[in-house]
């Protein structure tokens, strides 16, 4: 059982929903990322998703792309990110999960990447460019170390395929709200609630919704039908915008924003 499995077992028994912020590692630097993770957890984040900057992220919209470009421009390396995570993981009582391109994992070595996450107390990984057909080898490696390998289902996934993905995912299922790239959206697809409700009846795994989720109204609408919500670009944008105002101000601004979403969860 990974830390994520334990979290959702607890949340389901207490009828609680998870809120999971996403931050880009190394934007603007690793020390900041560690501090913002601590703040988000202190404010009530149930889990934290940490984006490993990648040079060619095709699933990402302008906000996250730009954050990756900034981090890589500052020569942020995987080794430094893993060390930062190793430092933060024991300081927070919630699971951390990396969002990481397969290009990076392959280059680092599948075994080695999994071993290093496990060693540093990170709970698992989301690999947005690894479809289910290509995932068996990594899934095995993750399972052997009690790491979750979270798979994604999207509006373009046919039902039979969704069931196949659900059967191989671990930790939770990442339900992508829209056919598209990451980024804040005011409108979410009208059939989203229906789709997620269907999926949740098909699988014992928790289902979390991400892509576009950014407003308290989204939280109020989606929390009842899902196990958790993932908020990415809205956080990354706030970090980028607030940075000129100094670290402490930025960190508490991001914390305040999470607070407004958490309030909508109640």
């Amino acid at each position: 059982m990974s830390a994520i499995d334990s979290l959702f077992a607890k949340f389901r028994s207490e009828n609680k929903k998870a809120l999971m912020p996403f931050v880009t590692a190394g934007d603007p630097d690793l020390e900041f990322t560690a501090a913002v993770i601590r703040e988000l957890v202190a404010r009530g984040a149930s889990m934290c998703e940490v984006g490993i900057p990648y040079s060619d992220p095709i699933a990402d919209g302008p906000v996250i792309q730009a954050s990756y470009t900034r981090a890589l421009g500052k020569k942020i390396k995987l080794a430094g990110i893993l060390d930062m995570l190793g430092g933060v993981a024991p300081q927070v009582d919630t699971p951390l999960v990396t969002m990481v391109s397969y290009a990076i994992i392959y280059r680092h070595g599948l075994e080695k990447y999994a071993a290093e996450l496990a060693q540093r107390g990170v709970a698992g990984m989301i690999v947005p460019d690894l479809p289910v057909e290509e995932s068996p080898q990594l899934a095995k490696i993750c399972a052997a170390r009690d790491l979750s390998l979270v798979q994604l289902i999207t509006p373009t996934t046919p039902p039979d395929r969704a069931l196949r993905i659900a059967a191989t995912s671990s930790g939770f299922i990442y339900y992508v709200s829209v056919a598209g790239i990451t980024g804040e959206r005011t409108q979410l697809p009208p059939d989203l609630v229906e789709r997620v409700s269907w999926l949740r009846q098909q699988t014992p795994l928790p289902v979390c919704i991400g892509f576009g989720v950014s407003q308290p109204e989204h939280v109020r609408l989606l929390a009842p039908v899902a196990d958790g919500l993932i908020v990415g670009s809205a956080i990354v944008r706030r970090i980028a915008e607030a940075n000129s105002q100094g670290r402490d101000t930025t960190i508490s601004a991001v914390g305040d924003y999470l607070g407004t979403l958490l309030a909508a969860l109640k």
């Binding site: 290009a103 479809p131 993905i165």
Partner: protein, 406 residues
């Protein structure tokens, strides 16, 4: 001890899109639906005799195929060795091999009932060929092109607009072909249900490397038939330039089992062999993942794609098609790298000795053929894929040579 590699087979890729260990499909789940749809449509098109009839008719009467196989006698004489023959893809409608692929994929677009097409382009040749196919069939067309390439291939940008396409400048990263592919993929993420992505080379996720190779294989098939007719045999050497690798794959694929014919792929050597100075992943790179495929790539120790350089926009790409990686590791094809300056010298040689302005991309292949010709017997024959014409490069060449117009 080096192990003997498995011989390359033409029976690739497998159902997972693997050429040996290379290829596959490393893309967001959102795109899998469209890729599966494309696989199904392509299979049904292959089983439909009407599809090939329609494509052949277009290739003959619209593109002007077969393209000639031309004996470049004066160039051969100047080199003083083997005979150099040119497969004249530069004489195709739109001036390069790219049209072979875009017409095929445009027909697939219609079969899938999609009305909108997107494409990436580097040199602008694929963009023009896509815009042309879309104008021909009445499809909407958006072409993504890096800002740096918009600058150095300006004539093609204007042509695309004349053909009714929208050209969207890409300002991320190195503002070249790689970034244009990223942006086209991102567009496709949001538009898969109504849009087909006409990828322009043998790169990307399965089934693109297979489909593009198959549509380009007309180059090699014609070459074999023309060689039989002109000199009753096969050539002693075949040379093609490699950006993503589509003209080379189209030329080489029909030769794969003719193991007596050596095949040479020429990558962009840029300013030299230091990282960042060239675009030669097969020569200097390592296996990794880029744009949905596992293949040789220029990457750093973390798997981040490196910036590359070539004066030629069509070769200025850090990755390469997975079948080339397969041919490299199986030793069926030899890959080498040619510098900007050697390619420029070859451009001049072909222009002044034959009256042909080659594309800067193709000039890399000409340079290598000229180099190798000198080492071969006079009776030997080299076929070079002259993948495109150089009109688009005139102003950039003038800039590189420090010449001012007018």
């Amino acid at each position: 001890m080096p192990t003997t590699p498995h011989p390359a087979s033409p029976q690739v890729p497998d159902v997972a899109g693997r050429f040996g260990e290379f290829g596959g499909r490393y893309v967001p789940e959102t795109l899998v639906y469209a890729l599966d749809q494309l696989v199904v449509e392509y299979e049904s098109a292959q089983a439909d005799p009407q599809f090939q009839v329609e494509l052949d008719d277009l290739l003959k009467n619209y593109v002007g195929r077969p393209s000639p196989l031309y004996h470049a006698k004066r160039l051969s004489q100047v080199c003083g060795g083997a005979e150099i023959w040119l497969k004249r893809e530069d004489l195709n409608h739109t001036g390069a091999h790219k049209i072979n692929n875009t017409l095929g994929q445009a027909l697939l677009t219609l079969r899938m009932g999609k009305q909108r097409v997107i494409a990436e382009t580097g040199a602008g040749q694929h963009g023009v060929a896509t815009a042309t196919a879309c104008a021909h069939f009445g499809l909407d067309c958006v072409v993504y092109m890096g800002e740096e390439d918009i600058r150095r291939q300006a004539p093609n940008v204007f042509s695309m607009k004349l053909l009714g396409a929208e050209v969207r400048p890409v300002t991320s990263g190195s503002r070249t072909l790689r970034d244009a592919i990223n942006e086209a993929m991102r567009d496709w993420m949001s538009s898969v249900e109504t849009t087909h992505y006409i990828l322009g080379s043998v790169v990307g996720p399965h089934p693109f490397p297979m489909i593009v190779r198959d549509f380009q294989a007309v180059i090699g098939r014609e070459t074999i038939a023309q060689c039989r007719l002109r000199f009753s045999g096969l050539p002693d050497l075949v040379v093609a330039c490699v950006g993503g690798g589509s003209n080379a794959a189209g030329m080489f694929f029909p030769f794969v089992e003719s193991t007596k014919v050596p095949l040479v792929g020429v990558e962009a050597g840029g300013r030299g062999n230091q990282p960042g100075d060239h675009a030669s992943p097969l020569t200097y790179g390592s296996p990794g993942v880029l744009h949905g495929s596992f293949s040789y790539v220029m990457q750093d120790e973390d798997g981040q794609t490196c910036d590359v350089h070539s004066m030629s926009a069509g070769l200025d790409y850090p990755g390469v098609g997975p079948e080339h990686s397969y041919w490299k590791d199986s030793q069926r094809v030899t890959y080498t790298s040619c510098t900007d300056s050697a390619a420029m010298a070859a451009f001049d040689a072909l222009a002044s000795n034959e009256g042909i302005l080659p594309a800067l991309e193709s000039s890399h292949a000409i340079a290598e053929a000229m180099r190798l010709a000198k080492t071969m017997k006079k009776s030997a024959r080299i076929v070079v894929c002259l993948s495109g014409r150089g009109d688009k490069d005139a102003s950039e060449l003038a800039r590189l040579k420090g010449v001012k117009f007018g």
